[in-house]
């Protein structure tokens, strides 16, 4: 046996002995290395996830199915559309995704004329960048929130669904519906490991033209992230606090008791 044959027998991939830590995170830890690079198996797994996420961005929201989900939970909904005609325009023109098209505005104005009484809260659902998130979680989130609020006497506007909608479109809907508080549910950018993450944006006294500084955000609502129950708790806290302070956004700090940390695992790096 000569030297070269011996060298060739060592495995080219070094495994990492800390694979068991994967039970604490979906992050791509302990992937091992070929030299310093990603082993082939891990590389191809990544490429497949990227391919799936790319596809997910372009799947349209099944509005009828969502409407049906909401109806069976007891909520009638109004279907609206942003000024972005389709997905291609939506991706390149965020300004159009932030505003309602003319027909949608007329629709809401008409509704308001027939229902002039003021309401406390409006829930707006927008497809955003992941229709999958909205399809899977928006109805349940809406129900969890509105059940809590209505039991406390809050009056609500009808639920609205905005196709090709971005975060700021909620403020326009809220203003047109005469709502004091706006809750927007939106599909967040799909990640490689999380194509179905729902975002929640909250605005006190919504109106067209507000910036992010006037909104509070709760992110990562999905089974492997923040649960609907925990998100509802946070949102109720924000709503109560914003009513006390009469504002939302930067002026309203989320100082609710940290619910996430209490249920989780201890940092093993420290004694």
């Amino acid at each position: 046996m000569n030297e070269i044959e011996k060298t060739d027998q060592s495995p080219p991939v070094s495994e990492n002995p800390w694979r068991q830590l994967r039970r604490y995170t979906d992050a791509r830890i302990a992937q091992g290395r070929a030299g310093v690079s990603l082993p082939t198996k891990a590389l191809l797994a990544f490429q497949m996830d990227h391919a799936s996420a790319r596809d997910a961005v372009h799947i349209p929201l099944e509005t009828e199915a969502l409407t049906e989900q909401l109806r069976s939970a007891g909520y009638e909904s109004i279907i609206l559309h942003s000024r972005a005609a389709d997905r291609t325009e939506y991706l390149q023109r965020p300004d159009l995704g932030r505003r309602l098209d003319l027909r949608s505005v007329e629709r809401l104005e008409e509704y308001r004329q027939q229902h002039p009484q003021s309401v406390n809260v409006a829930v707006v659902i927008a497809d955003g960048l992941s229709s999958m998130a909205v399809q899977r979680h928006a109805a349940a989130m809406t129900q969890a929130l509105l059940t809590r609020l209505e039991s406390r006497g809050f009056k609500r506007a009808p639920v609205t669904i905005v196709n090709q909608g971005r975060v700021a479109v909620g403020d326009e809907v809220g203003e047109l519906l005469g709502a004091e508080l706006l809750v927007l549910l939106v599909g967040e950018r799909p990640g490689l490991s999380s194509p179905d993450s729902l975002g929640i944006y909250y605005t006190f006294q919504p109106q067209v033209g507000l910036t992010d500084a006037r909104r509070n955000c709760i992110s990562n609502v999905r089974p492997a992230g923040l649960s609907i129950e925990a998100a509802t708790d946070k949102l109720i806290w924000l709503i109560d606090e914003s009513l006390r302070l009469q504002c939302s956004g930067v002026g309203l700090k989320d100082q609710s008791v940290s619910t996430t940390l209490q249920q989780t695992h201890k940092n093993f790096l420290l004694p």
Binding site: P17, W18, Q20, L21, S194, T211, K253, S258, L270
Partner: protein
Amino acid sequence: MTGYSATAGQQRWQFTDLKDLLAKATPLRSGDCLAGLAAGSSRQRVAAQMALADLPLKTFLNEQVISPETDEVSQLILDSHDLLAFAPISHLTVGDFRNWLLSDQADSVTLKRLAMGLTPEMVAAVSKLMRVQDLILVASKCRNETAFRNSLGGKGVLSTRLQPNHPVDDPAGVAASILDGLMYGSGDAVIGINPATDNYAAVTELLKMLDDIIGHYAIPTQSCVLTHVTNQIEAINRGVPIDLVFQSIAGTQAANDSFGINLAMLAEANQAARELQRGSVGNNVMYFETGQGSALSANAHQGVDQQTCEVRAYAVARHFDPLLVNTVVGFIGPEYLYDGKQIIRAGLEDHFCGKLLGLPMGCDICYTNHAEADQDDMDMLLTQMAVAGINFIMGIPGGDDIMLNYQTTSFHDALYIREVLGLRPAPEFDRWLQQVGITQPSGRLADSMPDAFSGLLNKL
């Protein structure tokens, strides 16, 4: 102002003012199209570049793209301009300035002295005339070193921010990514978490956790939790351990308003963190993030192209002597930088402009799943950035941020570029890696996991 013009062949192009000229001269990107500021044709773009090349640099001292009367960033740019430092190049046009930057006259020492004599608009202007190789060559001559618990930005050093994000900030989940990163030699620029929420209690727990880990293992690095600056000021006031203060910043007052910040707030935070004196080799305490398109996305660009807005943010950054400035180049999405080509060019522009202005530039070399980009594009940008001498990049397990939902550079990526170009981590951190047994003296990873860490696994 009567505007600017250029003639090429039989055609004459007219540009209404300085910001129009700058916008039309900018290499194509979707954000400027979105804003309605981009050149209408390829020929108009080059004509604008020709007109810009003939423009004396002094013009930028006399004509502002945004009035200082209504914008504190413009006022800061004017107030902080050093005429003495500017003197050696004050006679040049933008085109001559490019030639001078590429020449041997512009060596590292000369460029360092020049930095405060440059305004963001001058630097943005010259970058618009440059090719990728120009951006790389000139940036590679700039060395902007900073320090806190280690020394960053030295020649031959490439550092990483270890970014152990977790969707619900689970302490064990965060710790798992930190361990993974440390075992791959990552984390010398900072161990910095984007928290899942701005919840004050949660942020405080993360800050304490990072401080405890750095203390327990005596890691020569610094920590940061990337929450709003007002949260961090409050934390400092309540005695929570804060190494670096983070904030996203932009190049117009209106955009900073949309972030809920202003210069006075940043000054207060900078002073509060400096007074803690937590650095051991230096006291640069600010960590800023920027990115082309942030002003436009807040509808606060005021008719200025996105690259010029970006460079104006660097004037804000350098006023506070930051440890790290990170341009998060592909995060904002395809409406601002459409594809890999636009992301790559923008990243190199940001790095060049920041370096010329004197900043310790790093880059979050990244893309989102709705952009026309992939891992190959990131490899190209990473390689070019490292050749250009970037101070730091991100390091994240497998390049997949499971909290922010985008792809950035991985621990493996950092090792790839260190190996190809013979780069090392910050010297203090490099020594620690060897002492602990994570790396060999050659810089290569050790064959087995050090006892101090493998012992932890047995207890789980």
